[in-house]
């Protein structure tokens, strides 16, 4: 029996080896960074390597689904592990970088204080959280992939982790001045739990998608939802101007001073042809939705064929419009005169810009109401005069918009992939029972993790702000996500909702997690806004 035990233990160890090596390697990188100093590989470089490895790992796992090969599976697994290693290394190296930066600033001014090292834990802003979120998803994938039949998970989770890192890239990895209220031992606990919970929720979502695919949900139905998401993104970016004015306006940055992160200007610059390209893409995607709805509900094969053709054209249009947007942002010169010309032709932006500037001044309702539209415009014109020539375009000025467009593109791509040799793909996926079991397991872990997130956040809020719970936007967002997972778990008990119903719940739960992670920070004001 001892021999049997030894064999079993060795097999278990081997299956967890990628995850073990990730931690060992990342701490080695940390050691090297401490030894070598600032000349070591930067955290940004590690992050880009992680992104590349995640994409590579996903590619090989996807390839393995269509053309099964031991080699492809192994490369896929080890690429995933390498990606997680680079991801964790980036985070650890960033910790040291933050410490070095602030300590040098302090020593330069003669301040010999030595704040504790946990002050510099990379959990201070959305970039840090994104890095940790992607790591959470990656390590959860590796841990679940210790079972061979679940290595296919990586084909679905790693692209999502790569999207998170892409968003991080656009947010920018400049170090921020840590708001003093965040200097607490609760920060690594609370935000650490958040990143791991979000990562597990991502894996739960991926399992749900695989389940739906295996359960023979029509790819066309998936295409409908993916297209609706893409249309919603196109409709809402650039302050709804794509469908209303056929114009895409990119945000502008104003330099924030030496060593400081730039801040958003209240003006946006029209990128030539981007609006039209995006509008055409949107129309094509609406066509996809209509065609596939007719196909599904009326069993009309012709509509299905049209839909599939439109989907391919829409995908191409998405690539082109994204290229136009990114190309336009990267190549546009002479921002100030171009902006002046555009404002002369369409002075409507002065009013919105003036209102945005007045908003930041925290005026009372009376003071705000007393400002006339002409005064708002005057405020905007004064701002433009003082800061116009310093404004510049950057992908980092619109991180969520660019990342959302890329996510929409990847969604369409995946739907196209799913539509290719669908039956063969379904056969290669794990059994429905094991997928359902994994979905339940990950939902339980996400639920427990979100509960810990809420409680640790409340206790920290009680120590910092004097109130444990104030229904702040982020708190409420996390509560909503947690309640959704609670409803999911209880419907399994009370109604025996397994399988497809559970999968839909898991999808909704993850979307709410994304809203908490991203939507709250960018769309809603509150105490968590610095995150």
């Amino acid at each position: 029996m001892k021999e049997v035990d030894r064999i079993q233990r060795r097999a278990t160890f081997r299956s967890y080896l990628p995850a073990i090596l990730v931690f060992a390697g990342a701490f080695l990188m940390l050691g090297l960074r401490l030894q070598i100093g600032a000349g070591f590989i930067s955290d940004g470089a590690f992050m880009m390597l992680a992104l590349a490895c995640y994409i590579l790992g996903a590619l090989f796992q996807l390839t393995n689904l269509y053309a099964p090969s031991e080699m492809a599976q192994k490369i896929g697994l080890w690429s995933a592990a390498l990606g997680v290693f680079f991801n964790l290394s980036s985070w650890l190296v960033r910790w040291v970088g933050a410490y070095d930066l602030e300590i040098s600033k302090m020593r330069e001014s003669g301040n010999m204080a030595s704040p504790w090292i946990f002050r510099y834990v990379p959990f201070a802003n959305l970039y840090d959280l994104s890095l940790a979120f992607a790591f959470g998803a990656g390590i959860a994938t590796l841990l679940f992939a210790h079972r061979k039949n679940f290595q296919v998970l990586a084909a679905f989770t790693l692209p999502l982790a790569a999207l998170i890192l892409t968003l991080a890239r656009f947010i920018g990895n400049e170090f921020i001045d840590l708001p003093p209220v965040l200097d607490s031992y609760w920060r690594p606990i609370h935000v650490g739990v958040a990143s791991l919970s979000y990562g597990i929720a991502l894996v739960c979502f991926a399992v749900a998608v695989i389940y739906l695919l295996k359960d023979k949900v029509k790819v066309e139905a998936m295409a409908i939802w993916s297209s609706i998401f893409s249309v919603a993104v196109i409709a809402t970016i650039s302050k709804f101007s794509v469908f209303t004015e056929f114009v895409y306006r990119a945000g502008l940055f104003v330099p924030g001073g030496e060593g400081k992160k730039p801040f958003n200007a209240p003006f946006r610059l029209d990128i030539p042809y981007a609006g039209v390209a995006l509008a055409i893409t949107g129309v094509l995607l609406v066509g996809v939705v209509v065609a596939f709805c007719i196909y599904i509900y009326k069993n009309n094969e012709a509509a299905g064929k049209v839909g599939r053709g439109l989907l391919k054209v829409a995908f191409t249009a998405q690539i082109i419009s994204l290229a136009v947007v990114i190309g336009g942002i990267k190549t546009t010169q002479n921002i100030y005169p171009t902006l002046q010309q555009q404002l002369a032709a369409n002075p409507g932006q002065y009013l919105t810009a003036g209102m945005a500037i007045a908003d930041k001044q925290q005026l009372s309702a009376k003071e705000y109401a007393a400002i006339t539209p002409m005064q708002f415009e005057q405020i905007a014109k004064q701002y433009l005069q003082s800061a116009g020539d310093k404004m510049f375009l950057s992908l980092n000025a619109n991180p969520v918009e660019i990342a959302a467009l890329i996510t929409a593109l990847v969604g369409t791509l995946f739907v196209l992939i799913f539509g290719f040799k669908t039956e063969q793909l379904r056969e290669r996926l794990p059994s429905l029972e094991s997928l359902d079991s994994l979905m339940y397991k990950t939902a339980c872990l996400a639920f427990a993790g979100l509960a810990m997130l809420l409680i640790t956040g409340a206790i920290w809020a009680n120590e910092s702000w004097g109130r444990p719970w104030g229904f702040d936007s982020k708190e409420t967002g996390a509560l909503i996500a947690w309640l959704t997972y609670a409803a999911f778990l209880h419907t399994r008990i009370s109604r025996g909702w397994k399988g497809r119903s559970s999968a839909y719940f898991a999808v909704i739960g993850f979307l709410l997690v994304i809203f908490t992670y991203l939507g709250v920070s960018y769309l809603l004001p509150g105490l968590h806004s610095y995150a």
Partner: protein, 521 residues
């Protein structure tokens, strides 16, 4: 009435005993489905509260001003601007708490059965109905020996095991599998039962105790407590705090009398770059030192800093914000005697004083970060930034003559009145420790420590219970031993877990391997 009539007369159908209304209400309230519906309603209301700005959020005033009259009326009437304190939200929380308690009471007996009366034996058909099951042959001298071997295998795999003999009756079956109910037979078999993590069955109930504790504690804290603020300027004493209330776009402040007084003795701002400003981006921490004079309990001193509150008689003091007007915590002055002699360097804390060697008393009255003379020609500050810092001093000569002196950081010409030597010295502000004019402490009054009980006991209890529920599972395994021939026994092995089925599948395989390897040994 004839017999025929009696037969034909419709017999009175016995009316079903109607379920008492209270029972029906309790059944409804304790239903898990109702709980799920309540959760969904709570999600919807919470989303409304997120999407429609709440009245206590910074920026509400301008948001409210931007709404149409119709939106103001409708949202206001529906209570959407303060939805989390509305009567219907509180009612929802109450009903949800009730549902949790009643559902737990309803389901508890069946969960307790797993602990008090575990299923130590089962029929072959039941065992074969488990997801994890197998039938193997075991070689042993006796049934008891086989049972002990299986028990060892269970124990080796972490299951607490017992061997039992259990008799059961069954009906004889014909070759076609049809049961002959007239032939009742009895059989006695040895069973091995192993389990671990049985208390996991109670985990959900611990969660459901922690949640109402949290809700109730928070509710009590909200009803019995309030929020307030107090401004702290070193050297000043106060016994009132400002309570805040919101009424849509109006912020209402009321003074609340404390049963003690608070002296602010010191405020300090720890900076990253000591040469930089006192804005939040250059700050490590803020610290306020207070002295409480309580007629009942005497004097208490405390430091309040970020993430480090101070609690006194139900009042919890938090470092909230500062008044970003530059001031100085200590000043260092260079004094150059007018008539020659060695220059002196003195350091004076805020509101403090010092006496020079010649008996001159120097008192630090005020600090002006950006000195200017106002329209009336009086000393004033242009802004809160340290653009032209000056210390305002009261200098009392040994003869009792009082003079007002300004000590500047910048080199000011002797010919300018404010820069001219006074009281026998040329005064220069050589350095100072930057600090704001005042700190604002926020205060949470919680007389029953309800928030502490709610979030520490309820919160940590919830976390512990969830870890217990989701990271441990109740695993059970059974082995039914039937003798087939001399020294050969057929063992029906079955197992199940309430969670982590994939993990248990591996464990069951390990148990089977352990049993069969015994057999080979």
């Amino acid at each position: 009435m004839s017999a025929a009539e009696e037969t034909l007369k419709a017999s009175e159908v016995a009316k079903p005993n109607s379920v008492p209304i209270l029972n029906r209400v309790l059944d409804f309230l304790s239903s898990v489905r109702v709980g799920v519906v309540l959760l969904c309603v709570m999600v919807v209301l919470a989303m409304i509260g997120m999407l429609i700005m709440q009245q206590n959020v910074v920026g509400f005033e301008s948001y409210y001003a931007g709404l149409t009259p119709a939106e103001k009326v409708v949202f206001g009437y529906l209570g959407f601007f303060d939805i989390y304190h509305s009567w219907y939200f509180n009612a929802l929380l109450l009903i949800l708490s009730l549902n949790i308690v009643l559902a737990s009471i309803d389901h508890f007996p069946s969960a307790w059965e797993y602990i008090a009366r575990p299923k130590i034996s089962a029929t072959r058909d039941w065992l074969l109905g488990r997801n994890q099951h197998t039938v193997i042959s075991v070689y042993a001298e006796s049934e008891r020996e086989a049972a002990e071997q299986i028990k060892s295998a269970f124990v080796a795999n972490g299951l607490k095991s017992q061997v039992n003999e259990h008799s059961y009756t069954y009906y004889e079956e014909d070759p076609d599998g049809r049961k002959d109910f007239s032939k009742i037979l009895s059989r006695s078999n040895l069973y091995v039962f192993g389990e671990s993590g049985k208390w996991n069955r109670m985990g959900a109930y611990i969660v459901h105790v922690a949640l109402p504790t949290l809700f109730l504690g928070h509710f009590v804290a909200l009803q019995t407590g309030f929020d307030a603020t107090v401004r702290m300027i070193p050297g000043e004493t106060t016994s009132t705090i400002e309570k805040l209330d919101f009424d849509l776009d109006k912020k209402l402040e009321f003074n609340v009398q404390l049963p003690f007084t608070i002296d602010c003795t010191d405020i300090q701002q720890k900076l990253i770059d000591e040469k930089g400003g006192i804005d939040v981006t250059n700050t490590l921490d803020w610290r306020t030192h207070i002295k409480i004079n309580d007629p009942q309990y005497g004097v208490t001193e405390a430091d309040v800093s970020l993430n480090n509150p101070f609690t006194y008689r139900g009042y919890r003091f938090f470092q909230a914000q500062t008044i970003p007007m530059g001031s100085a915590r200590t000043i260092t002055l260079d004094l150059t005697p007018e008539n020659g002699g060695a220059p002196a360097k003195i350091e004076i804390p805020r509101n403090g004083s010092t006496t020079l060697a010649d008996g001159t008393t120097v008192k630090f009255d005020q600090f002006l970060p950006d000195f200017t003379l106002n329209a009336q020609g009086k000393p004033d500050t242009r802004s809160g930034d340290y653009n032209n810092p000056a210390a305002v001093l009261s200098v009392i000569s040994p003869g009792g003559e009082a003079t007002r002196v300004f000590a500047f950081a910048a080199n000011i010409s002797d010919k300018i009145p404010v820069g001219a030597p006074k009281a026998g010295y040329k005064w220069r502000l050589s350095s100072f420790e930057k600090a704001p004019l005042a700190h604002v402490l926020s205060i949470k009054y919680d007389p029953f420590n309800a928030a502490f009980i709610a979030w520490y006991f309820g919160g940590f209890g919830l976390i512990g219970a969830l870890i217990f529920v989701f990271f441990i599972s109740h695993k059970r395994a059974w082995a039914m031993i039937e003798k087939t021939s001399e020294n050969t026994f057929e063992v029906t092995l079955a197992g199940e877990a309430n969670r982590n089925h994939m993990g248990f599948e591996d464990k069951f395989k390990a148990i089977v391997t352990a049993v069969t390897s015994y057999e080979r040994g």
